[in-house]
Symmetry: C2
Subunit: 450 residues, 2 copies
């Protein structure tokens, strides 16, 4: 049998080669990328085995956060993808309109593409990867998920021996900052959100962060890499953190839990669960102790068991760190005339399977329920009887004495695992009891034990 490794390249030759990159977009991440590439060029080039050179930057305006020196700058980003000298196009303009055109054009021009654009990959990744495969170029997107944490590489390459069971991630720093402040300082959601906006953590329109859309983009990407399924952004169940109250944070604490906004992807009997929602998790779990703007992803896999990856999920240089890691991966190979052999989603494209995404009504989970009950005999028994008829057992219960002058008492229930539609039917029934006021607050609970 012939030996398979026939290519042999001398190091001296490698050191002389140059890989030319073109950066499109010079905002926060763009300028961070320029700065890190310049500051650490000796280390980076030694790791890449070649000289990585920023040949051109396309940006509508300069950015005083970085020094461009003699780098050519064009105001038309499409110049970059048309530049025959450029090997790798780095897309950092964001959005899904111009960015999509740019990436497609780059691919059809035979350029490799590195992007930090989660929306683009989550919504148009299938189409982009198919075109890249046809053109024989790589599209890398480590920076699109969890900023500087090498989570795509870890799942796709580091855990390549495994069948992934599930993953759960704190993948939106703004949301985690808000929940952390609510818990640590007893502050209210709206108050912390205003501060996060002032600090620049949250956008003026915070919808993407607090409603879970940003997390859903990232979750979809993680799930495809973990489970070999096409990207299906339209199928993620998404619930934000806007309804989380200080009370819930406190009761969760009393029960030994923390509330985190998680993206969860799980392989179950019926297919794959894809869901973003606030979640009570046991305070003893490492991920329950990930605070502030930090991100973390917990992955449970059959051979390795649970592993966790933690770090900065956003910011100029953390994101640049991921962008440059992708550049190095591609440059290491193309500088010696090789292809970067890691498939975009980690699996060969003909292996990707159309496993169904499970509807939220059909998932099984435990629930934290908070209701306002009239302080009368028989209320608890009426509630318990509804759960009992539905076959849902109660794991824990807190009933508080009424505050002075109040006629209602808070009643907090942790249920055991139940199918969502069954639980929702029971909750509706309870809400109709004359002794239960207002609607019931419902937060899912996950034990996350691997």
């Amino acid at each position: 049998m012939p030996k398979l490794y026939s290519v042999s390249v001398k190091r001296e030759e490698i050191r002389l080669r140059t890989v030319a990159i073109g950066i499109c977009g010079l905002g926060t991440v763009g300028s961070g990328t320029v700065n890190v590439l310049q500051r650490n060029c000796a280390e980076i080039n030694s790791r890449a085995g070649c000289s990585i050179e920023i040949r051109q930057i396309g940006a509508r305006r300069d950015n005083s956060d970085c020094e461009l020196g003699s780098i050519a700058v064009t105001r038309d980003i499409f110049d970059v993808v048309e530049n025959p000298e450029i090997d790798i196009v780095v897309e950092l303009i964001g959005g899904t309109t111009t960015a999509l055109d740019l990436v497609k054009k780059a691919i059809s021009n035979g350029k490799h593409v590195i992007t930090a654009n989660k929306a683009l990959i989550a919504e148009y990744g299938n189409e982009i990867f198919a075109e890249a495969e046809k053109s024989g170029v790589s599209v890398c997107y480590e920076a699109a998920v969890a900023g500087g944490i090498p989570i795509i590489k870890s799942i796709r390459e580091g855990l390549s021996a495994n069948r992934i069971n599930w993953l759960a991630g704190i993948i939106n720093g703004t949301g985690n900052f808000i929940l952390t402040e609510m818990r640590d300082k007893g502050r209210d959601f709206a108050d912390v959100l205003a501060e996060a906006q002032a600090l620049g953590y949250a956008e003026a329109d915070p919808t993407f962060d607090v409603e879970g859309i940003d997390a859903a983009h990232k979750l979809v990407i993680l799930a495809s890499v973990a489970f070999a399924i096409p990207l299906q952004f339209d199928k993620v169940y998404t619930e934000g953190i806007t309804e989380i109250s200080q009370q819930d944070v406190e009761y969760a604490e009393e029960l030994g839990y923390r509330i985190k906004h998680l993206g969860i992807a799980r392989r179950c009997e019926k297919g794959i669960e894809l869901r973003v929602h606030p979640t009570l998790i046991p305070e003893k779990r490492l991920i329950a102790n990930v605070n502030g703007v930090k991100n973390a992803v917990l992955v449970d896999a059959d051979a390795v068991g649970p592993t966790l990856y933690y770090g900065a999920g956003a910011g100029a240089e953390p994101t640049a760190s991921a962008v440059i890691a992708d550049i190095v991966d591609v440059a290491r190979n193309i500088s010696v005339g090789q292809i970067h052999t890691v498939p975009a989603l980690g699996f060969s494209s003909d292996f990707l399977s159309e496993v169904p995404i499970v509807a939220i009504e059909d998932i099984k989970t435990s629930y934290y329920l908070r209701m306002s009950a009239e302080d009368k005999p028989g209320v608890l028994s009426a509630v318990a009887s509804i759960f009992s008829k539905a076959g849902i057992s109660v794991e824990a219960l807190i009933q508080k004495a009424p505050e002075a002058g109040e006629v209602t008492v808070p009643l907090i229930i942790l249920t055991n695992m139940a199918t969502e539609h069954k639980l929702m039917a029971a909750v509706s029934e309870i809400e109709q009891l004359p002794t239960i006021n207002d609607s019931i607050t419902k937060i899912r609970v996950e034990t996350l034990d691997g």
Copy 2:
């Protein structure tokens, strides 16, 4: 300028290729590797883009933990490295004598080598990597550090944009299990060690684990990958956990710290620090909450900031997970006639530099000190005066009332940062005070803030 990516391979071709591996050693990790490769072969082959086949196993005896089916088995492991059909040799026999011969022979026969052998890499890695470079083959060793956590890949590839500042790891599961039990259950070292041995976590001779030698092997490897320095096992400062008492665990707790056995590698003005020792770390740090047999490595790097990697540091399948990830990395490339372009230590070998390893006397750190002081006036003042003369300030102090019938009181001091030799001189002086009995317990303190 010519385009650099000239190789183009059709996927259909890739799928048909077979990469033949030979496994030497069929102990815990060997049988785990066989089991995971067989169970997950569809996923693994799809990720690798080729068919990974166990062509031969060399083992002195069978192992009933795995089914070998029709795989050829030889009792002479050297048959495997001589087998012309085999592309990748997986060394899982352990030790540094036969394993070294085997690996060198494999390399000189043009085989790629995957190993889980930390002692072999830490002590003979420089020589092994040099020979591999000459022969144009890869030597991969992800499984040698922190079991199933993809920490080598994360530092070497995931953080390739960064200049690493320092790393600190819980990289010995047995030691962490002992310290966790001491804290959680108030048990004594010897008692927990005996249980760890009974559970199979600790070897009959626990020296490697509890004296820090195993952690030192792993630390040396991490440091080389992080700082581009040759492997220097003989230069690691190593201190075990055998002297940690229940009292220290409790006082640490009272001060807001946990005691962990850490491997620390840090870039400082004078060079690189390489040290393994028990360490007080603030209980709020995520790594302080890594318990039981789990491992975790915290890496602080200039662009990304702190990142943490957590998971199983040992065991059959977690270790197999790392072994197979390496196999996939190499197979992905050699199956299409390419080389695996990631250098063994992540940097091209001519970039490796002989940065000095700092002597332990010259490092700067804070200290936890516990002494037994006579319950007399003036003792505290005498101690404080010695520190003051040495220019060492005291960060925190606990003085307990004497127990009934005792004439001495425990005096616990947390110092600020000081150079080790200065601190040791002050401690010696304090030990000579007539009012201080016995020797002083000294444990280093690290804040680990990134």
